[in-house]
């Protein structure tokens, strides 16, 4: 190991600020995106559940009760 104490490890010979800031940004942003992309599928499933429910209720109600098409994207 190239460090004798934990303080040496944190100090990094005086360059600690740059090194630890770099690692924090990289690991932080990549960690965030990993969790974000994982949750995207779940969010998509929730949105689709609502979408299918609205489609079903639209099919069940009579034509005159439904709002005109083209109102929603």
């Amino acid at each position: 190991m190239y460090f004798n104490t934990i303080n040496e490890f944190i100090e990094m010979g005086g360059h600690g600020f740059y090194i630890w800031l770099s690692y924090a940004i990289v690991l932080g942003l990549m960690g965030f995106y990993y969790i974000f992309s994982k949750r995207l599928t779940k969010k998509q499933e929730q949105a689709l559940t609502k979408f299918y429910r609205r489609m079903n209720s639209r099919n069940e109600t009579s034509v005159s009760e439904q709002p005109p098409l083209g109102e929603e994207k």
């Binding site: 190991m1 190239y2 460090f3 490890f9 990094m12 010979g13 005086g14 360059h15 600690g16 740059y18 090194i19 800031l21 770099s22 690692y23 940004i25 990289v26 942003l29 990549m30 995106y33 990993y34 992309s37 994982k38 995207l40 599928t41 969010k43 998509q44 499933e45 689709l48 559940t49 979408f51 299918y52």
Partner: protein, 248 residues
């Protein structure tokens, strides 16, 4: 033998394929990161000129390499989708963009933080840094262009053309350190020569590059899954999958 390759063009098949592979990719990524970070932060030597700041190399170089790799994947898959009209290819291409942008941003910011203690400056308008910044704009432009269209097919095709046109930037980034006088150093790892780097440093660097690579595949597959669900929402298999999930 090639049937499995053509099966990838089917969104349903790709989705199930992604589901099967993801646990493996996630674990391999985690292990590689733990090993690589340990090697890089604890078991690799100081540089005789730069001291400890050389440790930024273990995150800067992988990020920069991946920023270019992801762009090539994005451009080629966009091109495949454009030429052969395979919608899964466009799914891959569009999913690559935000990840590539993140890698490019990380390469730029770690490079900047490495440059200040090493060369006394956060930024120089030299060839490599400028072309990497242009790469970031290309990624953001790709995402903005894709969002600008209401019709998804047109959006896919327009964005694919942008990706293909921008691919000239990749060799520019790579060769810039040879073609122009640059603050940046030349390549240490080459196919043709023995690397000039210390063995312990090389071990840490290669581990981190593979770790970043596995991370890319992990996050890409996760992103593609969500994209497939959205694009295929009117198909039977997505409907039954989502409704079965909500009833469980």
């Amino acid at each position: 033998m090639w049937t499995w390759f053509f099966q990838l063009a089917s969104p349903k098949w790709f989705y199930q394929f992604a589901d099967k592979l993801l646990p493996w990719f996630r674990w391999i990524t985690l292990v590689l990161f733990l090993v690589g970070l340990t090697l890089g932060l604890l078991f690799s030597p100081l540089d005789y000129q730069q001291g400890n700041t050389v440790r930024i190399m273990y995150i800067h170089v992988p990020a920069a390499f991946l920023s270019m790799f992801v762009y090539v994947v994005m451009a080629i898959s966009g091109g495949i989708g454009f030429i052969w009209r395979i919608k899964m290819a466009h799914v891959v291409s569009v999913s690559c963009a935000p990840i590539g942008a993140i890698f490019t941003f990380l390469a730029l910011i770690t490079g900047s933080l490495w440059g200040k203690p090493t060369w006394g400056t956060y930024w120089e308008w030299d060839a490599r840094m400028t072309s990497e910044l242009i790469l970031l704009f290309l990624y953001l432009g790709f995402m903005a262009l894709h969002n600008a269209f209401d019709d998804r097919k047109t959006a896919d095709r327009a964005a694919a053309i942008l990706a293909l046109v921008g691919i000239v930037n990749i060799p520019i980034i790579h060769f810039s350190v040879y073609w122009w006088n640059s603050l940046h150093q030349g390549a240490t790892i080459s196919k043709f020569e023995k690397p000039s780097m210390d063995a312990d440093m090389l071990k840490a660097l290669l581990t981190m590059i593979v770790a970043f690579q596995m991370y890319f595949f992990t996050v890409l597959l996760q992103r593609i899954k969500a994209e497939i669900l959205q694009r295929e929402k009117l198909s039977g298999w997505v409907k039954s999958r989502v409704t079965n999930l909500s009833s469980n």
